[in-house]
Subunit: 353 residues, 2 copies
């Protein structure tokens, strides 16, 4: 992985043509309905077509990146760390929420071990890109080295290239990692300058004491490591996670390959935020799947200038929100392809036309 | 239709069992994810199962009711009234937005002529329940007689019974009728006591003058007719529409048959509001598809105590938002059916469990 050239990937990211977007919208505006009345479905269609040059989604694929977090030992999660590998087995067996919702969406799920704390031997269906067996506890020093951060990014970039090679036209991000809301909150605090209080969510089963501890852990992590907000790789290395690095790399890679990428919730958007800070043009390729109930999520979305597609009070991760959002993008394309124009349908136009 | 007994339908509407809802949620709470983390998908699943006793949707069907409005002659729409029948032809041919989105959702579309101003002869695929060739202009007197209002309600109730007989497990409402945002705004104003200013939306292509005219038309309609807010059939008759009556009847009928009903946007929710005022227990059966950009819609939703599933800046009607919402309900059921429990998956539970 020493050969990974981040700058070369960043340089391949081009803005999406505003002319192409406008050309698709002009077509939609001829369809037999009031102008703009399908709202964001029209946005999904015009952006997807402008990015891919296609009007139909051949393959959909969600990459669920898994990693463990040294900071879990600070007691910031209601679940024990052993759940990370247990959920990896569940994903690979097809029995978790992301599997059910991906089947609903007609999407494949690819599970990537970015840094789970156990060895999986040769688990069929698991993509092995383990950087290390979990990050270090960031309250005591950096979560990972800069080289490891680049290795995590490289894995995500590689997944995007594989998706492109496999005729996948729509990619989704997903995560699994006990305690990973803590590094995600630390990332948004580090990049935006917001306080840990402003971006840390209580979560289910966390009481006042637990929330205070989580905020204290993030505060300590930022003080001990002093991540440089102008150096997103430094932020990822100091207070991030391996799966978050994989997601950031996937977002960069999709933008570089010309693939639209559906970014799931809080942890995925932390990855997208790293990517967006590295090259703001990635935003042209991002579809923000949903509004998480995590309070820091809105700040991430504001920073990357994305409006969530769904708001269903979800907070699971795995890529679940992304799977649902994919179905709405597909609906937008279906309308683009199948609705006749006023002329074709013989319908009178309004004075607004 | 003189034999239609509204009270008999109202009497058949039973509250959905809170015990059944709780039993489904208890099952979901054993699934391998943090409690409540699939948010509203869990709500969709528990309500659907409690209503129907099923975990899988056999048939989905959207009824798109069409009707013309005498008030269109007051110049309240950007489109000419001839568009109503033109769109009926487009629906029956399968070429409109609702057809595309219903195909996406795997739902049938049934088009019902409730009161379009032309004769369709024998148009295959059109269900004929024409009450009259358009309502009367409600600025000059009631839009329809009380008997006609009951006839419209009866048609909707009948459609629900047909859906039940056809093993349809999820019904959607839809509308087509040039100028029908005007009666819909009048209905919500009449029932809630809000002013026409508070519930009237400018809409595309309507300028300041057009908005003022629309508000004046609604104000006049309410003054001339004085609909009784405590008598929803009177409200429907005085300032409503035939397709709105059909929708109200469909909502009542679904509740009476024990069928969940997805209520589309502004016009459909006007119908649901009539139904809910007739018997508030219909709310147990309603799924509010989306937040329309029509400003009166939020007031309707507040009154029927429903939170919209989607918010995609749509304002088309036809049932389009409902088709999309159906796919999310289906996703919730998929997760219910396919996600393993902690025990089955061998995953450790959190301290929150």
């Amino acid at each position: 992985m020493g050969t990974f050239d981040l700058q070369a990937t960043l340089d391949r990211i081009l803005p999406v043509s505003r002319e192409k977007i406008a050309a698709v919208q002009a077509r939609i505006d001829r369809q037999v309905k009031p102008v703009g009345s399908l709202g964001r479905l029209e946005e999904f269609a015009r952006r997807f077509v402008a990015i891919t040059g296609r009007e139909e989604i051949r393959g959909k694929r969600i990459y669920t990146f898994a990693g463990d977090h040294g900071v879990a030992e600070e007691g910031v999660s209601a679940f024990p760390a052993e759940v990370t590998p247990q959920m990896v087995f569940t994903f690979v067996d097809g029995n978790a929420s992301i599997n059910a919702l991906a089947r609903h969406a007609g999407a494949e799920v690819r599970v990537v071990d970015m840094g789970v704390a156990i060895d999986f031997d040769n688990l069929p269906g698991l993509i092995k890109r383990k950087v290390a067996k979990g990050t270090a506890n960031f309250t005591k020093g950096p979560a990972m080295s800069r080289e490891q951060a680049l290795q995590a990014l490289a894995a995500g970039v590689e997944m995007a290239a594989q998706a492109k090679a496999d005729a996948v036209d729509l990619v989704g991000t997903g995560d699994m990692g006990i305690a990973n809301t803590t590094p995600s909150a630390a990332i948004v605090a580090a990049i935006t300058g917001l306080s840990p209080q402003q971006v840390t969510f209580r979560g289910t089963g966390i009481d006042d004491e637990g929330l205070a501890r989580k905020i204290a852990v993030i505060t300590r992590g930022l003080e001990v490591n002093r991540p440089d907000p102008l150096d997103p790789v430094d932020v990822l290395a100091k207070v991030g996670g391996f799966e978050i690095g994989g997601i950031a790399g996937l977002v960069l890679g999709c933008a570089a390959e010309g693939l639209p990428v559906v970014v799931d919730g809080f942890i995925s958007t932390a990855g997208a935020l790293i990517a967006s800070e590295l090259n703001p043009q990635v935003r042209d390729y991002i579809f923000a799947a949903h509004q998480s109930v995590e309070i820091g999520h809105q700040h991430m979305l504001a920073r990357i200038e994305q409006k969530p597609i769904l708001d269903l009070s979800m907070r699971l991760g795995e890529g679940t929100g992304g799977a649902l959002a994919m179905t709405l993008m597909e609906a937008g394309l279906r309308a683009l392809r199948e609705v006749l124009t006023f002329d074709q349908a013989g319908v009178s136009e309004g004075s607004e036309q």
